[in-house]
Structures are given as structure tokens and as C-alpha cells.
């Protein structure tokens, strides 16, 4: 397996598919920002990490596009938190991007000979 620069992967992934990652994270249920960042870290086994300075502007952008819907939720005895839901538009975008991503990964595999797991 060829050695790929961690930082490069990080940059590439974020550039092309940061949106896809976030949409996937909130797919099954609404989550707040801290939860989203922790989940990304955990599911990528520590390889991906979004900083506060980039994660939230990204969330806001997705919200402005109408793919996410953010709302303050209050629970008894806790501070209110802002939760993000996947909108129906977001759900459609997620499906389309998944398809594109699969095609891209398959093509990369064929061209570079890298087998994917």
C-alpha cells in the first residue's frame, strides 16, 4: 500500500467531501456541533479532525444552503444547545454525493491500482 501523506489526505477529503462527511453524521438523527466533531474523530479513527474555526462556518454554510436545519433545543436542567437536522433537500444531496464519491473512489482504484478495502 503506497504511503499517502496524512496531511494531504486530510486536505483532499475536507476540500471535496467535508460536506458529505457532515451530512452523513447527522443522517440518522439531529446532533449538536460538539457531538458532530467528536463523531467525525471517532468514526475516522482519529484520522479526521475538524477544528471549531472550520466546523461551525461549514455547518452555517450547509444551513444557508438549506441542507441542514439548526435549532436551539432546551432540556430541563441543561444549557440550551443548537442541534442540526438533515433537511429533505440535504437528504437528496447526500444520496447524490455518496454516488459521486463511490464512482470517484472506483475510478481512482482503476487508474492508480490502489485497491480499496
Amino acid at each position: 500500500m503506497p504511503d499517502i501523506d496524512d496531511r494531504m489526505l486530510d486536505r483532499e477529503l475536507k476540500k471535496g467531501s467535508a460536506e458529505l462527511i457532515i451530512l452523513s453524521i447527522v443522517e440518522e438523527r439531529a446532533r449538536h456541533g460538539y457531538e458532530i466533531s467528536k463523531l467525525i474523530e471517532a468514526r475516522s479513527e482519529g484520522q479526521l479532525k475538524f477544528h471549531v474555526a472550520s466546523l461551525y462556518p461549514l455547518l452555517y454554510r450547509l444551513e444557508e444552503r438549506g441542507w441542514l436545519h439548526g435549532r436551539w433545543v432546551e432540556k430541563a436542567g441543561e444549557r440550551r444547545r443548537r442541534f442540526y437536522w438533515l433537511t429533505s433537500e440535504g437528504r437528496r444531496v447526500l444520496a447524490r454525493q455518496r454516488e459521486t464519491w463511490k464512482t470517484f473512489v472506483r475510478a481512482m482504484g482503476l487508474v492508480t491500482g490502489v485497491e480499496h478495502a
Partner: protein, 914 residues
């Protein structure tokens, strides 16, 4: 000292980490919307908090955890760099409410946006305020339509200010009818009046047989040729009457526009054709617009010729007259001019015109009438008060809200907003409310106007005057909305912004009601006073209605069917023929099952009197001047009349078989007649000279009986003198058939009675009209009183509910604000009674002050209402006691909720709140 903090857990001391400062510094280059920036700061601070906590839990030191968490924000510019492409960072720097002055228009848009958002946050408050305003404005718009139609809007005539009503004036009355010869002479000799037309007040029906063979009863009014010119109306089709029609005594009629459209589908070819009216041919010369019906509701106008009237006609005062002033002539000038003409006539014809002057009244004043003016003004006053209460309630809501928002306002003020800017923001909110309330109120007013025609009693509005939903009404609503918006918005805005910022910021929101509370108490006391005023008015009018409805009508028959039967003159030309017809119908009707009795009469009690007033002279009394000759209501009745209506004969006898056309002329008079004219003499055997006009030959009649007093109108206060004459001795064409049922409902007899008429002469069925029961007649006669009483009562109830909502509002609010105070009292051992007393005490004071002011105002109000009252004194103890009781009872309901809530305050919970 009791442990008042029992149950309160000590809060963990939270580490002081000021992420907000760091984040705000990084966001500052973006110039975000203030509210948005606060949200982002809150959200990111939370994230950093959690990051920090997690790091601490994994063993990092405080300093390390803080440093690592801050690294999440990357460099000082990263956050702004990521944010900059977003829309929210690109918006033009928005105005902070309360920020320094910028463009007026942008400020306004911003104020509006902010106001809408603020109201959306409190939908309950907004809905309550808007509904309250809609009720007030809706009620006002409906009444405005009435006031506009009756008091404000000019009559639907060209140059209505030139139209005047002209009457003869005597020492006894300023509103005498006009003799035809005087009418002609006035018009010829006056230099200030262009033309004068006459019309006969009472509108009678006639049977019209159309060319198509359909016979029907139509209403017609007798007029002189000049009447349409005097009104200034132009023909819709054909022409109006001409002087030539008068000179040739032509049989001509003019149709009213609505009749022409309904009966002839607006066909212009009817002009010039003949129609048969009461068996005679009349030529239709034209169609007049409906505005001509301002002189009386009618289907058509028939010409009465007055040229060459005989000199004795100068004593027949039969016409009401309408004149048209020459352009630029004032009423006073015309009055002086016609007055001079009248005194010249008095010198020329002293026998008839001595002491007769003229009275000129603007036509609109005469048409609308004092009664309707009073009613309109009364309603206007009433709804204005209701609107004031609505304003007070909304102002109260706003005041309470403003107090709760004083902190927010103080912060903005501390950030540099000047006071005028804050006031404008708050005013915008109240204007948004009032505009929404106004729009809803307009819809409500439109709905009220839609059902109004079925509620307004017949005859209250003059013909040709209708309540309209038009731009004037919309403009009124808009004006009212704007006015109330400013009125109820200004005080709260002023008060809310009066606090010094430091003072407001220092406030811990737990104190009892302060200055705003006083203003609110004054408002509610005002509401209570207004409600008391309206309730007293409603009570007086209801008592009047009761008095009028329960009046002793004089007759005892509990129920009877009445209908007008008007046999065609062409079929029954002689008195004998008429009497035969009446006899035959009587025979048929008496044979009907379920008929107890029946009678013929020209009058129904409290209804129409077809014969009207006749001049009466008591035989043996010194002769009276023509102008002061007394009159009495002349009624032609069949012998069974008194028995059928169960109207007692107190002295003497009823009519019987002796009283035929060939017998001694007799009459029966009523008690008022005896009191006025007999002055202690025995009425039986006295002779009365009766004549239809002062010049007509007198007919002497012997009094054979005295009937009990019967009322002509339900609210008459003068003695109503009546003379009954047997039908056999003076048969006439317009008679009411009165049928008294054996049992049950009188109206159920209507079909069989019609059948009986048809069996005698099927053709005459067409002349049967006005089928009613005596109850219907009495109900219609009391219509105006009912209309007033019901409407004012409805408004008073609305006012009461609103005032109680206001009372409830201040109490509920003060209890909510005093939870901690009440908790302390409870903890210190106050009983439930103490708490209730402390809460209710304030309410009782407000209520008491309002009640006292209301009662004082009501004492003055009684005098204003006096002319509308009957059978009740303006200062009526029963009404006042009832009003106080109603108020106390409803106040109990309003106070109960908050008081109960106050007693439920748990000291523990109360002290932990805030």
C-alpha cells in the same frame, strides 16, 4: 428565623472561562447582526467548554486544557476567514434597535421587522391585543356607517343644501301642514325660493291592474307637479310632472326607479303607456330615481292638481312641502322672505291665514329627524367608550410587557440608543398591533353591516338612506387604527423608556408593582367607570323597553289577527255596496271554525290609523278660533269592535243595530276625550261636531258611550283622544279586518280568513295586505326601543367583559410579580386569608374608584338619555343597584383566579425562583 433557604442546593462554583471574549474578538471584523453574533458566541463557547471539560477529565491541567481548547479557534483570523464567504457575514450592517440614527426609511423597515419578530415571540399577547382592538374597531366601524349615513353624509340629492322643508307655523305648532293655495302663493311670490312642491305625508296603497292582467297592491304617494324640481332630481327615464299636467288635471304617474326595475325590468317603453290604478287609467310619464323617496317610501307618485283650488281649500292643511332655494340664498334670507309673503297672505285672507307664518328647516335635518339623530349620537358615544376600553386594555398589556422588558430597553439605551429611537420602536409595535386589529375590525364591521338590515327596525332609517360599506368606512377604520395605535402605544413607550439605565439594570424584577402599576390601575379604574356608565345606560334603556312592552294597551284580547282589506272602488262604488261586501265577509269569517269574534276598524291599536285626526267641537262650548280647533283620532268601527278586542265600555253602550245610516248619528269617545273636553259634564247625550277640515260642514254626533283608553303608541305620554264612529254611518274603503281566535294562535287563521274573503269576491283578495297579529303590531311599535336597548346592552356587556379582563390582567400580573414576596409572607406565617386580602385589596380599591366615578358620570348621563326613556326615571335606584351587583359578581370571577393562584404559592418554590 425560619430557614428560608431550605431545599436550595448550593450551586457548584463554575470555573470562570471567558471564551466569549476570545470568540467575539475573532468575529469582530465581520460586523455580524448583533443577535446572530450572540448566538455564534454562545454555540462556540459551549463547544470550547466541553472540550475543556473533557481535557480536564483526561488529566490535563487547567492551563493546558484552556490552551488546547483555544487552539480549536486556530489563528486570530481563521474563524473570520471561514465565515466571510457566508451570507450572514455579507449582510449590510443591520441597525440595532436602539442604535444611533441612520436613514429614516431603513430605520422604519428595521423597526417593523423587529416589531413583527417581537410579536411572533409572544403570539398569545399579540392575539389578545389584536382581538381586543378588532372588537373595538369593528363595533365602531359599524356604528360609523350609521352615523355617516344619518349625520355626516349629505343626502343623495344634487346640491342638497338648497333643499328645505317648509311648514306652516301657528302659535300651537311650528310644523303644520300646508294648504294648497298657500303652496301656490308662496311659490309665486317668493324671491328666494326657486320652486315649492307638496306631498301628502301618509302613503296609501292602491290596486294596480297591469296590461299583463296581473293585479297587485302598490304604494303611491300624492304629490304636486313641482315636487321633483324642488328635490332637484332628474328623471331616470321619460320626464317628471309638468305645470301643464297640473293645469289639465291629467291622470299621470311617475314610477320609482326600484319599482320600475322590479316590476318592468327597467323597460323604458313603459313611459307613455297607461296602467290601471284602483280601476282608473293613469299614464306613466317617467321614472324618478330612488333618492326621490326621501319624501316617503313609495312605488309610484300620482299627481294631485292644485291650480285653481277653491278658496275654501286654503283651510285644508294637507301638504308637506319641500322647497328649493335659489343659488346663494341662505336659509335665514329665505325664512325672512317667505315670512313676509306669509304675513301678506294673512292680511289678504285673515279668516284662514291669521297668525300663520312659515318655518324653514334644512331638508336633511327634517328627513333624518331628531329621534334618529339622538339614536346615532347615543350609539357613537357608546362605541367610542368601548373603543377607549379596548385601548386601555391593550395599553395595559403593553405596559405589563414594557415593564418586563425594561432591562432589555435599558441595555439598548446604555449602548447608545436615544430615547426617541426607543419610543419609536415601541410605537411601531403598537401600530403593527393596531393595523392588524383595524384590518380584522374592518372585516367584523363588514359582517355586522351585512346582517344589519335584518336587525334595524322598519322606519328607523329614512327611505333612500342605506348603510354602506365604502371607502369612507375603510378610511374611518384606518384612522381609528392609527389613532388607537398612537394612543395606547405612547404611554407605555414613554413609561418604559423613562427609567434610567442604571436603575433598570439594577432592578431584580422582584419588586412589587411600581410606577407602571399605578398607571395600569388608573386605566383599569377608568375601564370600570366606563363599563358602569354603559351598564347604567343599558339598564335604563332595558327598563324603558320593559315598560313599553308591558304597557297597558287598553284592550284585553290576548291575540288577534289583523289584515287590511281595501275593496276596489270600481267594484264597490257606493257605501251600500261596500257595506254589503263587509257584511258578506263577516258572515263567512264568523262561520269559520276557530273564530271567536271579528270586527272591522280603520285603526289597529298601536298601529296605523287610516282616518287620522278630525276636528272636534263640543256642542254648547264657546266657538273656537279655526287655528286652535281641537282634534281627535277618528276611527270607524263595526259594532262588534269593542267586544272583539275586549275593550271595555266604561259608561253608556257599545254600537248596535240602532246605529244604521238612517239612525241618529252617534259616536263613542274615550276616557282622555272625556277628561279634555267634557270637564266634569256627563258625556252621555252630549253632541260633538266633527269635521274633516275646518271649512268642511260639521257632522253632529251624539255621544252614546265612553270606551276605555287605548294607546296609539306604546310610549305616548300625551292624552290620546279618540272618537269611534259606527261603520254603518260612515263606511270607507280601507278597513282592517280583525279576527280573534277561539283558542291558540291568531296567525294560524290567516289562510282560512283569506279563503273567506275569496269566497265573497275572489278579485278582492289582491287588496288584502299587512297580514299581522296584534302582537306583531305591538312588537313593531316597540322596535326602536328594542333596537336601542339591545344594542346598548350588547356594547355594555362587551365593555364589562373587557373591563374585567383588564382587572384580571393587572391582578394576575401583580401576583406573578409578587410570587417571592408572597412566598416570604407565607414563610413568615401569613395565613391564606392574609394572602387573599393582600391580593384582593388592591383590586377592590381599583374597582371602588372606578365604580364611584362611573356612578357619578351615570347621574349626569341620565339627563342626556332622558328623551329616550319611558316609564323609568333617569336616576333609577333599581338600575343602579343591579349594575353594582353585576359588576361585583363579574369582578369576583375576574379576581378569583389570581387570588387562588396567590394562595397556592409555595414559599420554597417561590424563594428559589429567579
Amino acid at each position: 428565623m425560619p430557614d428560608i433557604s431550605r431545599g436550595a442546593e448550593p450551586r457548584p462554583v463554575e470555573p470562570k472561562r471567558d471564551w466569549a471574549h476570545e470568540i467575539r474578538a475573532r468575529l469582530s471584523p465581520l460586523n455580524l447582526d448583533a443577535a446572530r453574533e450572540m448566538e455564534i458566541v454562545e454555540e462556540l463557547s459551549q463547544h470550547l467548554d466541553e472540550e475543556y471539560e473533557e481535557l480536564r477529565q483526561t488529566g490535563a491541567t487547567d492551563a493546558d486544557a484552556r490552551r488546547l481548547a483555544l487552539e480549536e479557534l486556530l489563528g486570530p483570523e481563521a474563524l473570520a476567514a471561514y465565515m466571510r464567504p457566508l451570507r450572514q457575514a455579507r449582510v449590510s450592517p443591520p441597525v440595532q434597535p436602539g442604535g444611533p440614527r441612520r436613514s429614516l426609511l431603513r430605520d422604519l423597515a428595521q423597526d417593523l421587522r423587529y416589531a413583527l419578530a417581537a410579536l411572533r415571540r409572544q403570539p398569545g399577547f399579540a392575539a389578545g391585543a389584536i382581538l381586543t382592538l378588532a372588537l373595538g374597531i369593528g363595533a365602531n366601524s359599524a356604528i360609523f356607517a350609521l352615523v355617516d349615513a344619518t349625520l355626516l353624509r349629505p343626502l343623495p340629492l344634487p346640491e342638497p343644501e338648497r333643499a328645505v322643508m317648509i311648514a306652516e307655523r301657528t302659535a300651537a305648532s311650528s310644523d303644520e301642514r300646508v294648504a294648497p293655495n298657500n303652496l301656490t302663493d308662496w311659490a309665486e311670490r317668493s324671491r328666494s325660493v326657486e320652486t315649492i312642491g307638496g306631498f301628502m305625508g301618509g302613503v296609501g296603497g292602491m290596486v294596480m291592474a297591469g296590461a299583463d292582467g296581473v293585479a297587485e297592491t302598490v304604494s303611491r304617494q300624492w304629490v304636486t307637479a313641482a315636487v321633483f324640481d324642488a328635490l332637484g332630481v332628474r328623471p331616470v327615464a321619460g320626464r317628471m310632472f309638468l305645470p301643464d299636467d297640473d293645469r289639465t288635471r291629467a291622470n299621470v304617474v311617475v314610477l320609482s326607479e326600484s319599482f320600475w326595475r322590479a316590476r318592468y325590468n327597467g323597460d323604458t317603453s313603459i313611459v307613455g303607456r297607461d296602467i290601471r290604478l284602483d280601476g282608473e287609467n293613469y299614464t306613466v310619464v317617467g321614472v324618478a330615481p330612488d333618492s326621490a323617496q326621501l319624501i316617503g317610501k313609495t312605488d309610484l307618485w300620482a299627481l294631485v292638481a292644485i291650480t285653481g283650488a277653491p278658496p275654501r281649500a286654503r283651510a285644508s292643511h294637507v301638504f308637506r312641502a319641500v322647497g328649493r332655494l335659489k343659488p346663494g340664498i341662505t336659509l335665514a334670507a329665505a325664512d325672512a322672505d317667505l315670512g313676509a309673503v306669509a304675513s301678506a297672505l294673512a292680511q289678504e285672507y285673515p279668516k284662514t291665514n291669521e297668525g300663520r307664518g312659515v318655518t324653514l328647516v334644512p331638508f336633511d335635518v327634517a328627513v333624518i329627524g331628531a329621534d334618529l339623530r339622538h339614536t346615532s349620537t347615543l350609539f357613537l358615544g357608546v362605541v367610542a367608550f368601548v373603543l377607549l376600553i379596548c385601548c386601555a386594555n391593550v395599553a395595559n398589556l403593553l405596559l405589563a410587557r414594557a415593564t418586563a422588558r425594561s432591562r432589555e430597553l435599558a441595555i439598548r439605551s446604555a449602548m447608545g440608543a436615544d430615547r426617541s429611537r426607543l419610543i419609536r420602536q415601541l410605537l411601531t409595535e403598537s401600530l403593527v398591533l393596531s393595523v392588524a386589529g383595524g384590518a380584522l375590525g374592518l372585516a367584523l364591521g363588514a359582517a355586522i353591516l351585512r346582517v344589519a338590515p335584518s336587525v334595524i327596525p322598519d322606519g328607523l332609517l329614512p327611505p333612500a338612506i342605506a348603510l354602506a360599506f365604502d371607502m369612507r368606512l375603510v378610511a374611518f377604520c384606518a384612522g381609528a387604527a392609527l389613532f388607537v395605535g398612537l394612543l395606547f402605544g405612547l404611554a407605555p413607550a414613554w413609561q418604559a423608556t423613562a427609567l434610567q439605565s442604571a436603575q433598570a439594570l439594577g432592578q431584580d424584577n422582584r419588586t412589587t408593582v411600581g410606577g407602571g402599576g399605578r398607571l395600569r390601575n388608573i386605566l383599569v379604574a377608568g375601564e370600570v367607570a366606563t363599563a358602569v356608565l354603559l351598564l347604567v345606560g343599558a339598564g335604563l334603556l332595558l327598563r324603558t323597553l320593559l315598560a313599553v312592552q308591558n304597557i297597558d294597551r287598553g284592550y284585553r284580547a290576548e291575540s288577534a289577527l289583523t289584515m287590511m282589506v281595501d275593496p276596489l272602488g270600481s267594484e264597490y262604488p257606493t257605501p251600500e255596496a261596500l257595506l254589503q261586501f263587509y257584511d258578506a265577509v263577516e258572515h263567512e269569517v264568523r262561520a269559520l271554525p276557530g273564530v271567536r269574534d271579528m270586527a272591522w276598524a280603520t285603526t289597529v291599536p298601536m298601529g296605523m290609523s287610516y282616518e287620522g285626526q278630525r276636528f272636534v267641537d263640543m256642542g254648547g262650548d264657546p266657538p273656537v278660533d279655526d287655528n286652535e280647533r281641537p282634534t281627535a283620532d277618528y276611527q270607524v268601527v263595526s259594532p262588534s269592535y269593542f267586544q272583539a278586542l275586549d275593550l271595555p265600555i266604561v259608561t253608556g253602550r257599545a254600537f248596535d243595530q240602532r246605529d244604521t245610516s238612517g239612525g241618529v248619528p252617534v259616536c263613542i269617545v274615550n276616557e282622555a276625550f272625556v277628561r279634555t273636553h267634557l270637564r266634569g259634564r256627563d258625556p252621555i247625550g252630549m253632541r260633538v261636531a266633527i269635521r274633516s277640515d275646518v271649512e268642511a260642514p260639521a257632522r253632529e254626533r251624539e255621544i252614546v258611550g265612553v270606551a276605555r283608553q287605548v294607546r296609539g303608541r306604546p310610549d305616548e305620554t300625551d292624552e290620546f283622544e279618540q272618537v269611534y264612529v259606527p261603520m254603518m254611518q260612515d263606511p270607507t274603503g280601507d278597513m282592517f279586518l280583525i279576527v280573534r281566535p277561539a283558542t291558540g294562535s291568531a296567525s294560524a287563521l290567516a289562510p282560512s280568513v283569506r279563503g273567506a274573503v275569496a269566497r265573497v269576491d275572489k278579485q278582492q283578495l289582491v287588496s288584502v295586505r299587512d297580514v299581522m297579529t296584534l302582537e306583531d303590531v305591538a312588537w313593531e311599535a316597540t322596535g326602536r326601543h328594542r333596537f336601542r336597548a339591545v344594542l346598548v346592552t350588547a356594547f355594555a356587556a362587551l365593555a364589562l367583559v373587557l373591563a374585567m379582563v383588564g382587572l384580571f390582567g393587572i391582578l394576575a400580573y401583580s401576583v406573578q410579580r409578587r410570587v417571592r414576596d408572597l412566598g416570604v409572607r407565607r414563610a413568615l406565617g401569613a395565613t391564606t386569608g392574609d394572602v387573599v386580602r393582600s391580593v384582593v385589596g388592591g383590586a377592590a380599591r381599583v374597582l371602588g374608584v372606578g365604580l364611584a366615578i362611573g356612578v357619578a358620570l351615570s347621574l349626569a348621563l341620565g339627563r342626556v338619555l332622558e328623551s329616550m326613556l319611558f316609564g323609568v326615571q333617569p336616576v333609577d335606584p333599581v338600575t343602579f343597584v343591579l349594575v353594582v351587583a353585576v359588576l361585583a359578581l363579574t369582578a369576583l370571577v375576574a379576581v378569583a383566579g389570581p387570588a387562588w393562584k396567590a394562595t397556592r404559592v409555595d414559599p420554597v418554590v417561590a424563594l428559589r425562583s429567579e
